[in-house]
């Protein structure tokens, strides 16, 4: 299938999001769509698939002008969209989610459970994921949910599959499986639109790349004819230099020490230390228990035993509130469920973690609040119409930046970052890295959980690898590389040379 989008305009109210955007998708190619957060990639794809209507422009599919009124029409035509923000019904099972609206039926509208079970198992098998189809969606990790969304798209006999940041919540091994699937789809003549902020993936997987900036079409390049610097320059209009800024910080004393942290069935006997000014990377496969360990340290899990020491003093983090009072900060993995009040403004979200700071005797100082929020917006470059912008209407990466802005002024002694740059564009990533470095320079001890290996390698002083709830090892920067981490994460041993 061939798709051409030309001269697409789209505004939300007075906010012109797309101005003369477009691209051309060829039969059987993997086409990358790149651009900064808020450049309009998701919006362009939503217009293609009938989620939004366009204000101007044409969409031509196989030589015919079309205008899908809703996603169902697009799906009928063979265009499937795997959304960036997951569309799952948490209370339904995996199976029910996958067959929602297209249940296999026997006579009298009775669902054919056996046939559906078989179908689900076949597809999950193909994706190489071990998930029980009868599990509730809410029991799965974000990464697993993402895999289910992908599986859902494979069920439809699609000619074009749009993947909007499919790997943002996946770790290396799941990503590898996904890539195999994508390649085999391509071999069958399916065209793929691939949206991602991970440069390595784009250059590994894609054939061509189209770049959008501020809602406008900038250009299309063959992957073979371009390189990362070139792409970045087209995306943000300037060069960014080193992707992982070097940090020249003297590492100080131990700030946080974790001893024998255990939560039955989740993780066992976790021991580690973080020093002032140090960035401790935490790596591992999906479901290894990294997030749970961090949640436990931050006082948000029950049935946890073990002890925590801050600057040598034992502390008890019975609740997130206590953890904050003890000087911890926590940027959560799932911005939608745990990070943001989506229906509230940027301002209310940022101030929530800073209420003590911007108030006196419980009364808010609006002026101070405004200044704090304005500073936050500027520091992490949130693309928005102002502090009152509702978070629902922000692009995914910008939502992530709001979560970040919320925490950086709480003056933590220890800052835990769980996937801090998920879905964030390359320019903004660097801004976040700079902020992390600044905080480290101020002596903050930083724990960074990340599934993006280049990021962990580029940013950490040490890397702790977790597998099935057990710390497999801590690699010093010099010894850490992609291979070593994967060996530990998958259960192998590093032979000591």
């Amino acid at each position: 299938m061939q798709i051409e989008m030309r001269g697409i305009d789209k505004s939300f109210g007075s906010n012109a999001v797309l101005k003369n955007a477009g691209f051309l998708l060829d039969h059987g190619e993997i086409h990358a769509l790149m651009g900064e957060n808020g450049a309009g990639k998701s919006t362009l794809m939503k217009i293609l698939t009938g989620v939004y209507t366009r204000d101007a422009g044409t969409v031509i599919v196989d030589g015919q002008e079309v205008c899908y009124q809703n996603p169902q029409e697009a799906e009928k035509a063979g265009i499937v969209f795997i959304h960036q923000e997951l569309n799952v019904l948490f209370d339904l099972t995996v199976e029910e989610n996958m067959f929602l609206g297209k249940e296999i039926k026997k006579a009298f509208g009775v669902c054919d459970k056996k046939a559906m079970r078989q179908e689900v198992e076949k597809i999950l098998d193909k994706l190489g994921v071990k998930i029980d189809p009868a599990q509730r969606m809410s029991e799965l990790s974000v990464g697993q949910q993402q895999m289910i969304e992908i599986a859902k798209a494979l069920m439809v006999d699609a000619k074009v599959i749009i993947m909007d940041e499919p790997t943002a919540a996946l770790t290396q091994s799941e990503t590898d499986v996904l890539f195999e699937v994508v390649k085999s789809l391509k071999a069958k003549g399916v065209s793929i639109v691939y949206i991602s902020h991970r440069m390595e993936e784009i250059f590994y997987l894609c054939d061509r790349i189209t770049i959008l900036r501020d809602g406008s079409y900038i250009g299309t390049k063959k992957i073979a004819d371009t390189d990362m610097n070139d792409v970045v320059k087209m995306m943000i209009g300037r060069e960014i230099g080193e992707r992982y800024p070097v940090r020249d910080v003297k590492i100080g004393d131990v700030v946080l020490e974790v001893k024998g942290l255990t939560c039955p069935g989740v993780f066992k006997d976790v021991n580690f230390q973080v020093h002032a000014g140090e960035v401790l990377g935490v790596s591992g496969l999906m479901g290894a228990g990294r997030t749970e360990i961090m949640q436990a340290i931050f006082g948000n899990m029950s049935h946890v035993t073990g002890s925590l020491y801050l600057n040598g003093q034992e502390i008890k983090n019975k609740s997130p509130q206590a953890a904050m009072a003890n000087g911890l900060g926590f940027i959560t993995e799932d911005r939608k469920v745990e990070g943001l009040m989506l229906e509230e403004s940027i301002m209310k979200n940022i101030s929530l973690a800073n209420l003590g700071k911007i108030s006196k005797a419980g009364v808010l100082n609006k002026q101070e609040e405004k200044e704090l929020v304005q500073k936050g917006i500027e520091e992490v470059h949130i693309k928005c119409t102002g502090p009152q912008h509702e978070c629902n209407n922000l692009s995914g990466g910008n939502q992530q930046k709001v979560v970040f802005a919320k925490w950086i002024h709480t003056n933590p002694k220890v800052l835990i970052l769980d996937e801090p740059t998920r879905g964030v564009d390359i320019g903004a990533k660097k801004e976040i890295y700079n902020i992390i470095n600044d905080l480290a320079a101020q002596g903050v001890a930083i724990i960074m959980v990340s599934s993006e290996l280049p990021e962990v390698l580029g940013m950490s002083d040490r890397i702790m690898v977790v597998r099935e709830g057990v710390v497999r090892g801590c690699l010093a920067k010099e010894k850490a590389n992609q291979e070593n981490i994967m060996i530990l994460a998958t259960g192998g041993d590093l032979d000591e040379k």
Partner: protein, 309 residues
């Protein structure tokens, strides 16, 4: 993008109120007299105080069905104290404290007991009503003496304005301040908006919820004092069904029943709409059977117009 969040939706209830006043005013000269407006405001203060407390609870994503029973139990106790010779001022303050404590019991069941707010307050509603009947042995308490303080709360006035009205407006301003300008207000909204995110940002959501139920109980008790003063006696069935008017006022004011969204001044307008309906329909001589139907329809229209955004 709407930078200023002032749109038709915010004014839907206000427009409805103005329309009601104008329409009823056209048909009834009696309705549009200043003295009727004052008595209308005085009548609305009873429901108004309860509705303000209810707004806080609903903003956190909860609901408080127990307000009518809390009102009955606190007035009964207060009347009992007074008839047993306790100084009126002390009895009244004690009644407010008890109301706060009764509300906190509901809050405790919701937070520590992890009961759904609807169930928890259904339980307290039933139990408090039962306790009222037990305490009063089914009979009113009316030997309250002739304390001028007690009379003043419900019947007194300052500069021609009835004291309940003053109370109503002062409490309104206090709530507006608390919800808009204090950290507690932010926590209330945050708890209702996304409890998990609020918790991880250091908000003690259980404490926040508990306090809102306590506030709701306190407001019910305060409202009960006005009633006690006006009626001159405590009745076992006092406040029966008051929770419904309060919830209706909150809904009319545009507060989301899921929590996280809403404004106290919306509730203020909602309270006035209910009061205008009660008062206006009475003056127009509409039979009380029809009154309820009309009230239901007005609430339906207001809430529907609220939905389109």
């Amino acid at each position: 993008m709407k930078n200023k969040k002032i749109n038709f939706q915010d004014f839907g209830a206000l427009i409805a109120l103005i329309l009601l006043v104008v329409v009823i005013g056209i048909f009834s000269p009696e309705f549009r007299t200043p003295s009727n407006f004052l008595s209308l405001l005085r009548q609305s203060s009873i429901n108004g105080l309860i509705a303000f407390g209810m707004t806080c609870v609903i903003l956190t994503g909860g609901i408080d069905l127990s307000v009518g029973s809390v009102l009955a139990l606190t007035t009964a106790l207060c009347a009992g104290f007074i008839s047993n010779g306790m100084p009126v001022g002390v009895a009244m303050i004690l009644s407010l404290i008890l109301g706060t404590a009764f509300g906190a019991i509901s809050g405790f069941m919701v937070t520590k007991g992890r009961l759904q707010p609807f169930i928890a307050t259904l339980i307290t509603m039933t139990v408090f009503r039962g306790l009222t009947l037990i305490y009063m042995n089914g009979k009113p308490i009316s030997n309250l003496g002739s304390s001028s303080l007690l009379k003043f709360v419900g019947k007194g006035s300052v500069l021609g304005i009835p004291f309940p009205v003053i109370l109503f407006i002062v409490v309104f301003i206090v709530f507006m301040f608390v919800l808009e300008k204090t950290t507690f207000g932010r926590r209330v909204y945050a708890t209702g908006s996304n409890a998990q995110a609020a918790k991880l940002a250091g908000v003690n959501i259980n404490k926040t919820k508990l306090i809102t139920y306590a506030i709701s109980g306190c407001m019910a008790a305060l409202s009960g004092l006005i009633l006690l003063s006006r009626l001159g006696s405590a009745q076992p069935t006092l406040g029966d069904g008051y929770e419904l008017d309060a919830i209706a006022s909150v809904a009319l004011g545009g507060t989301s029943m899921n929590g996280g969204r809403g404004r106290i001044w919306g509730t203020f307008v909602g309270v006035l709409i209910i009061a205008v309906l009660n008062n206006g329909l009475n003056i127009l001589g509409v039979s009380s059977y029809y009154q309820d139907v009309v009230k239901g329809i007005v609430i339906l229209i207001a809430v529907l117009s609220d939905r389109k955004r």
